[in-house]
Symmetry: C2
């Protein structure tokens, strides 16, 4: 571990330091962090994941801690405090200056994962009749302490948002122009309790640098900036991905969670899915006489339910993603499920054509017929269920990602077996 | 369908129009598009997905088409042309002015999904000894035609990048200051052939507005801006999500692909997975004598391989995502697989404890022992395989997302059955 490190203000070097810090084990991380020059410590700390910030702080004394958290951006500080136990958050809050305490308290009053939580309350509001030269002067004098001056909100005397302008428009315009003439009115904005994912998607669609956050009376509370939106999108994708795999989101980097936390994120879903899977035992028990008469039927059980699970997973992940990026909405239910059922029918027919030939050669005509018909039915059913479930979840207010692949697979397993044995019984007249 | 529409330059109304256009059926879309006032057509067209742009253009005459594509940003035009057949792309290229042809040709020479493809070649380079007042004047005069003036690259006489500054720094600084004094040196930059996802993640980490793209001799070719990075991240997540579900990415919005395209995106993977699943038929055939002696063993086949598949999917999606956001790298293989195996062991033991009690009550002691031991072994194996496969894929240069849930499930199915029957044979001494 190096003990001397040259002072650095280079962005690229800072990125390397943050990257290195993120990957180290906790003990090595704090040693490395202490080895950094003070100005670099501050810059690196701001870039760390909140889980790592927490860890670093717990090993520093009060003076150092106070300095590091005082300099955090208000929204980053709110994110860190949210992660801490109430007692620890209260302790850290006590180390802040009055002004920073107020800023933090203000953000933390908004619900978790809302626009209010991720907005920056440090912005530079302009009045509509201010001239461009005066506005530029205001940016010059008071802009440094703001999170952004690229996006500049325009407000009335009651702090109600009436438009937005940007720093380049100030530069382009003649000095005498009133801000009113260069501002855009009717810009995208959100309420403070809006879901952070919706804010981020709105920003992505509208290609703006910042989205204003308003209270119920249209008064400006803060700005959500593009870098926060990018972090939100990454966070939300990670959440969706975890749910797609049938686990609870970790909320922290992979190596920042313990073995037990990893296990806890998975065990409840795994138990619930296993419980649901006992349905398959019931179905098989019910058809035990059929199985006894023809053990060779059991040879195809894993293959059939495997194919069904895969077809269901394909539909489910497609639809969950299409809903996440707003290409599919709850009201498209009929259109989507009809579409997916036909895709499933096509896929099942293709597989059945192959299976029919192969199974006939090795296991005879009857089994070939049963397996082929089952494949067509199971694939259609799987695609139907795989597309129906996420949309239904969305309708009842549940994250569609929760009911994706593993959930669909389990449902399709039991119903697929039912289909298989009913067809077998019909073909063999058992 | 409304036939009269008031002219609008409002961003929010534009967003609504684009959103509406994206959701309509192709025929309704073109009718609605034609009903827009001309200036709104232009603005809406620029915001449409390339697949929808293509569709709209195919129904317009040459004059209208020429106007719409001439006004597109160079990187957006490159993206549209990439989607078209070579003949169609050549036809549209012929409608462009010489200058726009050259800009487009220039971008299209870079590999697909590279930094060169998504960069904007329209930037405003500054010289290091320019004074801030002169630089501001340059922005005022020539900035409007650039994709961004928020980020300003500083170059030497050979167009080599020596630093970056931002518009707010120009405003903050005294007019006489040379740009050299306010620029940041050693900023994050990429080569033109760098993967677009790496560029986007770099931008997300460094919170900058634009990343400079350089050739082999450090000469500045263009800037990748934050809004392009956000689109890249969304595109890459959608790709990963499709692969996680065992399908090829569509590359277009859900409703912009036909039934046959949907089927094509899935059928190859489904066939390959089904082929791999025939392994399960082989394993079961091999143990047919055991099955014949004890048909009740077959009752637990779907449950056991279902649990194995779910545990494997949990590990795989966790690791695929951790690799996508660079929390886990290929060299972490041993650390990760050891960790995941222990998580699998813990999960399997928990499930086994429940299963042992329940199976004993309903099916007797022997089956309870077999099922419990199988659960522990299968969960451990599944978590191991689920974490190992994505990392191995990455090592051999394959997208980790390709080998996730359905792939892992299929492997775990066959090996899980093997484990189950070996344990059964050992317990029953068959």
């Amino acid at each position: 571990v190096p003990t001397v490190h040259p002072a650095t203000s280079s962005k690229r070097e800072l990125l390397n330091v943050v990257d290195e810090l993120s990957r180290l084990d906790p003990e090595a991380r704090i040693v490395r962090f202490r080895s950094l020059p003070v100005d670099c410590q501050q810059a690196a700390f701001q870039q760390l994941d909140p889980a790592h910030q927490d860890e670093v702080l717990s090993l520093l004394d009060e003076t150092q801690t106070a300095k590091l958290i005082e300099e955090l951006a208000p929204d980053d500080r709110a994110q860190l405090f949210e992660l801490l136990s109430p007692a620890r958050a209260e302790q850290l809050r006590g180390l802040l200056s009055r002004q920073k305490q107020a800023l933090t308290d203000n953000l933390l009053q908004y619900p978790a994962e809302s626009a209010g939580r991720i907005m920056s309350p440090e912005f530079l509001p302009l009045a509509a009749d201010t001239r461009v030269s005066e506005a530029t002067e205001a940016v010059r004098k008071r802009g440094r302490s703001k999170e952004t001056v690229f996006a500049l909100p325009v407000v009335d005397v009651d702090n109600r948002l009436i438009g937005m302008t940007t720093l380049d428009e100030l530069v382009f315009a003649a000095p005498e122009t009133p801000v009113r003439d260069i501002m855009e009115t009717d810009v995208p904005s959100v309420r403070s309790d809006e879901d952070q994912e919706i804010v981020a998607r709105l920003m992505q669609m509208s290609d703006v640098l910042a989205i204003p956050v308003l209270d119920e009376e249209q008064r400006l509370l803060g700005l959500v900036t593009f870098d926060d939106a990018m972090d939100v999108l990454e966070f939300e994708e990670t959440e969706d991905m975890a749910r797609t795999g049938g686990a609870e989101p970790l909320g922290r980097p992979y190596f920042a969670v313990s073995l037990l936390q990893l296990m806890r994120s998975r065990v409840v879903w795994l138990l619930l899915l296993a419980l649901a899977a006992t349905l398959t035992v019931n179905v098989l028990s019910y058809f035990e006489d059929v199985l006894n008469q023809m053990v060779s039927l059991s040879l195809f059980i894993p293959l059939l339910i495997g194919v069904g699970g895969n077809a269901g997973a394909q539909s489910a992940t497609t639809i969950v993603r299409a809903m996440a990026v707003d290409e599919v909405r709850a009201r498209d239910l009929l259109r989507v499920t009809f579409r997916e059922s036909r895709v499933g029918l096509l896929l099942g027919s293709t597989l059945a054509a192959f299976a029919f030939a192969v199974v006939w050669v090795f296991f005879g005509q009857s089994l070939a017929i049963i397996v082929s018909i089952s494949l067509v039915t199971i694939c259609t059913l799987a695609s139907l269920v795989g597309s129906l479930m996420p949309i239904l979840a969305n309708r009842v207010g549940v994250d569609p990602a929760v009911v994706s692949a593993p959930f669909v697979t389990t449902i399709v397993d039991a119903s697929g077996l039912l289909v298989y044995f009913l067809i077998a019984r019909a073909v063999f007249n058992i």
